[in-house]
């Protein structure tokens, strides 16, 4: 069984899709060199006509991708820092996302926004440590946060093939992980959750790098409780069916995700569960604090991130009710 790293999986997805589909092209800073690892070798394989190093003009090249997409390309745009999405929020939320409805369906904008190294980078401080996927979900941009190499491969493939804009976040804390792969890699549909572990007492919904954390916690708690762990894989759209079935069955919910608490992804899951899924006891969220800005010093950085201990306590708390 070959081992596949998370970065290699993203790289492979780009490589395969570029080979399969002439229209796929890549824009971003230092993408020819492959600075983030994800685009390594692609310029050599496909030429600098399709893998394009851009100047530091995020706004213009994001909308350039929009124009190219309308004109028939399938651009992938790489951003070196998650907070660069703030810089191009207008271009994504107000231009690319809206084009299809505003033109009455004349054209859509099949662009993939790729964000390697999202979330805390351990010591990169306030402006390099955000995890802003909830913002994209709020405005309605399809958004994936793959938790494993094979999901990274499959979701990126689907993102590129989707006729709408899709954002793909690759959390920093997963970039170094690997997975044994048996069988072929394949596309993973957007909006399909993955149940990583079945359980009967409580449903844990975990996102991105917190999926392995949740699995570890579930294993550690195995004697105490039967914990179901579900990864929604895309934070928008959400696979409400899979989540709903699980939560209705267990009646208990803990959601752990790495965005700010206020109006974050966790809020949406808890709210929908409360409205629709017949919770037996109040749900719990584990998240960053409201309005979090990640401090530089490592111990302060870590103090603000959701972790295994907090999750364990949250699970125990909902089981106690």
């Amino acid at each position: 069984m070959p081992s596949l790293s998370y970065i290699a999986a993203l790289n492979q997805a780009l490589r395969d899709e570029m080979a399969r589909d002439e229209r796929v092209c890549i824009f971003g800073e230092d993408v020819c060199l492959g600075l983030t690892g994800i685009t390594k070798g692609l310029a050599e394989a496909h030429g600098t006509g399709r893998v394009v190093d851009t100047p530091l003009s995020e706004q213009a090249f994001t909308s350039l991708a929009t124009g190219a997409a309308i004109a028939g390309q399938r651009p992938v745009v790489e951003f070196q820092i998650p907070s660069l999405l703030y810089l191009v929020f207008e271009q994504i939320a107000n231009q690319a996302h809206k084009f299809s409805l505003m033109t009455g369906g004349q054209a859509s904008v099949p662009v993939t926004y790729l964000v390697p190294g999202s979330g805390s980078r351990s010591g990169m401080a306030g402006q390099h440590s955000d995890h802003p996927y909830s913002l994209l979900a709020h405005v309605g941009v399809k958004t994936a946060v793959p938790a494993t190499p094979s999901d990274a491969y499959g979701l990126l493939l689907s993102a590129i093939r989707e006729p709408d804009p899709v954002a793909v976040f690759a959390p920093t804390l997963l970039m170094g992980t690997s997975e044994e792969i048996d069988g072929d890699l394949d596309a993973v549909p957007l909006g399909s959750a993955r149940t990583h572990r079945e359980g009967t007492d409580v449903t844990v919904v975990a996102v991105g790098h917190l999926v392995p954390v949740a699995l570890q916690v579930a294993a550690d708690l195995a004697d105490e409780a039967s914990v179901e762990v579900i990864d929604p894989r895309t934070v928008y759209p959400v696979d409400w069916e899979t989540l709903g079935k699980s939560i209705s069955r267990t009646g208990r919910l803990v959601v752990i995700d790495d965005s700010n608490r206020m109006c974050g992804f966790g809020a949406e899951i808890a709210a929908t569960a409360a409205e629709e899924f017949g919770l037996a006891v109040p749900p719990k969220r584990v998240s960053r604090p409201d309005g979090a800005v990640i401090p530089y010093a490592l111990n302060l950085d870590h103090a603000l991130l959701p972790d295994a201990l907090e999750l364990t306590e949250a699970i125990r708390a909902v089981l106690r009710r």
């Binding site: 213009a60 190219a68 004109a71 107000n94 299809s100 033109t103 009455g104």
Partner: protein, 311 residues
């Protein structure tokens, strides 16, 4: 030009009656720009337009019937009534949309040009229209750099009508437009935007150079809007331009100037043709149905549609 003028005159009335909701940004006075530029555009060339987009869209060949129907919010409109004045588009004709955000179209045009070259459509050009106000918008300046850097076939058309809403250009812009554009490596020139033949000549040179692979061009067209920034301005009774200034520009009405160059009989014939077209458009738009409100989210996504309702 006459088509645009009459189309807009009708729109002004309909904005007052409320048939057209949200008001419009009238293009009246600036017609020579869109018409002069479009004289050199082919169907597969791309344009991106602005909040003041009717002229650009019609000059590029959009059907006046469907353009008007769009403004009426009809399902027969260019955008099926979903876009209205500020988003009117006809992607099949290379019209990648008016745009409600100043400057936002410029990089989209650059992207279209990039794709054309990538796809081997070497002769194709993309035109980005924008106003003088947009010259202070970061994304436009970034777009200049990308187009010049990659030597893309883009014509940037700056319609300098002297104002960004109430802000006179000399209180919004340090330096002058041509010099600014040239600083990015664009081949830049200025032209009298009130004379359709002058615009056509300058644009012709620029478009030909773009098609010949000689990189992006910038054309500043000195022009003037005869009306307020937006129809709501008339209701508000605000005023920031002095009468003499307005009069000096209306005296240079591009339609009157062009009419003077035509044989009166020819001009009359054009007028009659346009009147018929407008009448046809009004009839078409007026008799077109709206959309079912249950379909309000149609077209939100082209792929999988995950949306839940609000209640």
């Amino acid at each position: 030009m006459r088509l645009i003028r009459e189309f807009e005159e009708h729109c002004l009335e309909m904005a007052v009656t409320g048939t057209i909701v949200g008001g419009i940004h009238p293009y009246i006075g600036q017609e020579a720009v869109a018409v002069g530029v479009s004289a050199h555009l082919r169907k597969d060339d791309v344009i991106t337009s602005t909040h003041r987009g009717h002229g650009h869209v019609l000059a590029k060949g959009a059907d006046p019937k469907r353009a008007l129907a769009e403004l009426y919010g009809a399902s027969t409109g260019l955008n099926r009534g979903r876009g209205g004045s500020m988003h009117a588009a006809d992607v099949g004709l290379g019209i990648y949309g008016a745009n409600g955000i100043v400057g936002a179209g410029a990089p989209i045009a650059v992207g279209a040009a990039w794709a054309a070259r990538r796809q081997g459509r070497d002769q194709q050009v993309a035109v980005a229209y924008f106003g003088d106000g947009a010259l202070s918008q970061g994304v436009v300046l970034e777009a200049f750099n990308l187009a010049a850097l990659w030597s893309l076939p883009v014509l940037f058309v700056c319609e300098n009508n002297g104002y960004a809403i109430s802000l006179p250009v000399d209180r919004g812009l340090a330096g002058d437009p041509v010099r600014r554009a040239a600083g990015f490596g664009l081949t830049a020139a200025a032209v009298d935007g009130m004379d359709v033949e002058a615009v056509a000549e300058a644009a012709g040179r620029a478009v030909a150079a773009c098609r010949a692979g000689r990189g992006p061009h910038f054309l500043e067209c000195a022009t003037y809007r005869f009306r307020g920034h937006h129809t709501v301005e008339h209701l508000m009774g605000i005023n920031y331009r002095d009468e003499a200034e307005v009069a000096s520009w209306t005296a240079r009405d591009p339609l009157a100037r062009q009419r003077a160059r035509l044989a009166p009989a020819v001009a009359d014939e054009v007028d009659a043709e346009i009147a018929a077209l407008i009448a046809e458009a009004v009839a078409f738009a007026g008799s077109s149905p709206g959309s079912d409100p249950r379909d309000a989210l149609d077209y939100l996504y082209a792929g999988m549609v995950p949306t839940r309702p609000g209640a």
